[in-house]
């Protein structure tokens, strides 16, 4: 029964991708922990971390697709929510260091000692507890998205104007976090983490644990997004995307709908960020850079917006190419990314997934044509009858 409600009317590609992720989780965990390093089946910890990072990127892509693909809200500042989630997690990890920092101060993180601070700022209170940090991972980006969205959607800011102000948002946050006075480590950000929930962060098993947690978060995030999209709420979102004034005329409070989905999406992005930070071992203001947000949108466009599994494929494909290419020719990457964005927009407007669906399409279309023809015939018969009566 549960199975049925979960999967009824589900996009098939999505199920295949979910299955692939589960298999990847199993294969990589076993390959890293159980297979000896001498075997050719062994999966290196480096690979585990890279794939874990990709999984969090994929969740970020899903969160962007939820608003862009379904509600038509293009956010070019979603990296801000990702980074805020990352900072909340980073603050917890900093507090976990305790007196093991270079200065050995049990009360203050290293960078504060370095800045000659004597007291912990009030906004660091509570981050010694994991549950508090986890709550903040959701709340801080959620509230920011709520305020920002409320102001924007209430004034009917949409389309390219909305995209521009989201860029401004993430840029402003970047500048703010660069300042040492903010109390978030300034330029260097938060780093040198030791452990998470008592597990050493450099340990293989912790790495695999974080990798699996990222996979589970992605799967959950995907199903949450899927549930939203498949509900009547989701159909209203699509209606807003395609004909906003008409939807408003039907009595739907459009701004509220956009606000709700924007906040949910920001929270998904924040969870991705929170899982990203312990795996890469650092969070700094660079994560707020407008370019990273645009890059994330490029993953969605490449994979295919408007299906929730397309962005997952896109995030993996683009980032895999990026890792390969940056080791070969790091300077080339921005050009490749720009070129990719142009090529996809021109030749594959529906993204990589349209390559998969291409074989099926003609059949569907001919079906509709047959039905249309049937209806037409019926109409003409009705029209004939009508003229006879007259």
């Amino acid at each position: 029964m549960l199975f049925k409600t979960l999967f009824a009317g589900h996009e098939r590609g999505g199920l295949i991708v979910m299955l692939a992720i589960v298999l990847m989780l199993l294969w990589v965990s076993i390959g890293n922990l159980a297979v000896p390093a001498s075997s050719s089946w062994h999966v290196s910890t480096y690979t585990v971390t890279i794939l874990g990072k990709f999984l969090t990127y994929a969740l970020l892509a899903v969160s962007i697709d939820l608003i862009w693909g379904y509600a038509g809200i293009l956010s070019l500042g979603h990296g801000a929510f990702f980074a805020l989630g990352g900072y909340a997690m980073g603050m917890y990890l900093m507090r976990e260091i305790g007196d093991r920092g270079q200065y050995g101060n049990p009360n203050l993180p290293d960078f504060m000692v370095f800045l000659n601070w004597h007291e912990l700022p009030w906004y660091w209170y509570g981050f010694d507890h994991f549950w508090f940090a986890a709550l903040m991972v959701l709340l801080v980006p959620g509230i920011l998205a709520g305020l920002f969205g409320w102001l924007a959607f209430r004034s009917k800011v949409s389309g390219v104007y909305f995209a521009i102000i989201t860029q401004a948002l993430t840029y402003a946050l970047m500048l703010a976090f660069f300042r040492n006075e903010m109390g978030f480590g300034g330029n260097n950000g938060l780093t040198d983490f030791k452990d998470i929930l008592g597990f050493s962060i450099t340990e293989n098993s912790t790495r695999v644990g974080l990798f699996v947690a990222s996979g589970i978060a992605l799967i959950l995030g995907y199903f949450i997004a899927q549930a939203i999209v498949r509900s009547r709420f989701g159909r209203v979102l699509v209606a807003i995307r395609d004909a906003e004034p008409r939807t408003r005329a039907c009595g739907y409070p459009v701004a509220q709908y956009k606000l709700v989905v924007f906040v949910i999406s920001a929270m998904l992005a924040a969870v991705a960020g929170a899982l990203y930070v312990p795996q890469v071992g650092i969070i700094n203001p660079g994560e707020f850079s407008p370019l990273s947000s645009i890059e994330a949108v490029a993953w969605v466009a490449t994979g295919g917006r408007g299906s929730l599994f397309g962005p997952i494929i896109g995030a993996f494909a683009v980032n895999y190419s990026k890792t390969q290419l940056t080791t070969l020719a790091p300077d080339l990457w921005p050009f490749v990314l720009g070129g990719l964005f142009i090529l996809v927009t021109v030749f594959l407007p529906k993204g990589l997934i349209s390559l998969l669906g291409r074989r099926k399409k003609p059949v569907e279309e001919s079906e509709t044509m047959v039905i249309n023809k049937a209806i037409k015939q019926e109409t003409s018969v009705a029209a004939d009858r009508k003229t006879e009566v007259l």
Binding site: R232, F233, C250, T379
Partner: protein
């Protein structure tokens, strides 16, 4: 001068039998417009317009460009408020006191000239979103489609003749089918009055005939008002025709009486309207 009682003046058991929001049509009239005037920068788009619609009738409204047809529809649907005059729905509901979205739900449905349907959604889903029901995000998120709703969707789709296309995306529909779907979306909101603006513009002959049939079948249960330039179409469906000119009614009556009215002939520059 029509005697239109105010809402507060109505007392006694007659009102008690009416559900809130239900028009009182004991005198057989569903819509009264009295001395409605609306001007834009001194130009009187509506000039002491008087119009009454009988409950369940099918009325055609014609008139040259700038006669005030669109402005009249704006006033009836609450989109614009007139400078002066009264607009009553039944004898008891003052439409000027209601917001546009309140009027759209259950009172007056308006079909705009260009069809706008939700192209990515299926035909049935288009109707589903317009059904009367919750509109707030949380309520809609929790909403599950009920059997009653599905029946209502089927009923509307049967009326507009798109039942076989119910699972198809609305984007693949022909122009005429989209117009019917939009009429269906209005029907889903269960309006007493249906305002239809140039429904057959750009339709094929077949589609025009089918649309005429549809609109005629809708009258009776509802009041249908058609604003149309296509005189051949008007002739097909009209019983009573109202001619608007410079913001007020120039003539009213059967199509033939209107067409032979010298004032109407003069307005149409000596031509009969049917030569359009």
């Amino acid at each position: 001068m029509l005697s239109v009682p105010n809402e507060s003046e109505i007392i006694g058991d007659r009102v008690a039998t009416l559900a809130p929001g239900q028009p009182d049509v004991t005198h057989g009239t569903i819509l009264y417009l009295e001395d409605v005037t609306l001007s834009f920068d001194g130009f009187k788009a509506l000039n002491k317009l008087n119009l009454t619609l009988d409950d369940g009738e099918l009325r055609c409204i014609i008139g040259p460009n700038g006669a005030g047809k669109s402005t009249m529809m704006d006033v009836i649907t609450g989109r614009r408020k007139p400078d002066s005059g009264q607009v009553f729905f039944g004898q008891n509901i003052d439409l000027l006191k209601h917001q546009e979205h309140e009027i759209a739900r259950g009172m007056v449905g308006r079909k705009f000239q260009r069809p706008t349907v939700f192209e990515a959604l299926t035909v049935a889903e288009n109707i589903e979103l317009t059904l009367l029901g919750p509109r707030a995000p949380w309520a809609v998120l929790k909403a599950r489609s009920t059997a009653a709703e599905r029946d209502r969707i089927d009923e509307v789709l049967t009326t507009i003749g798109l039942i076989q296309l119910r699972h198809q995306p609305a984007g693949i529909l022909s122009h005429g089918q989209k117009q019917w779907l939009e009429i269906g979306m209005l029907l889903a909101q269960n309006p007493r009055i249906l305002l239809v603006d140039e429904p057959v513009a750009g339709m094929t002959g077949e589609e025009v005939a089918r649309t005429a049939e549809l609109l005629v079948s809708l009258a009776g249960e509802r009041t249908v008002v058609v604003v149309e330039h296509d005189m051949a179409f008007v002739r097909k469906i009209a019983r009573t025709v109202t001619v608007l000119h410079q913001g007020s009614v120039l003539a009213e009556g059967s199509l033939s009486s209107v067409q032979s009215n010298p004032k109407v002939i003069e307005v149409y520059l000596g031509e009969t309207p049917c030569s359009h």
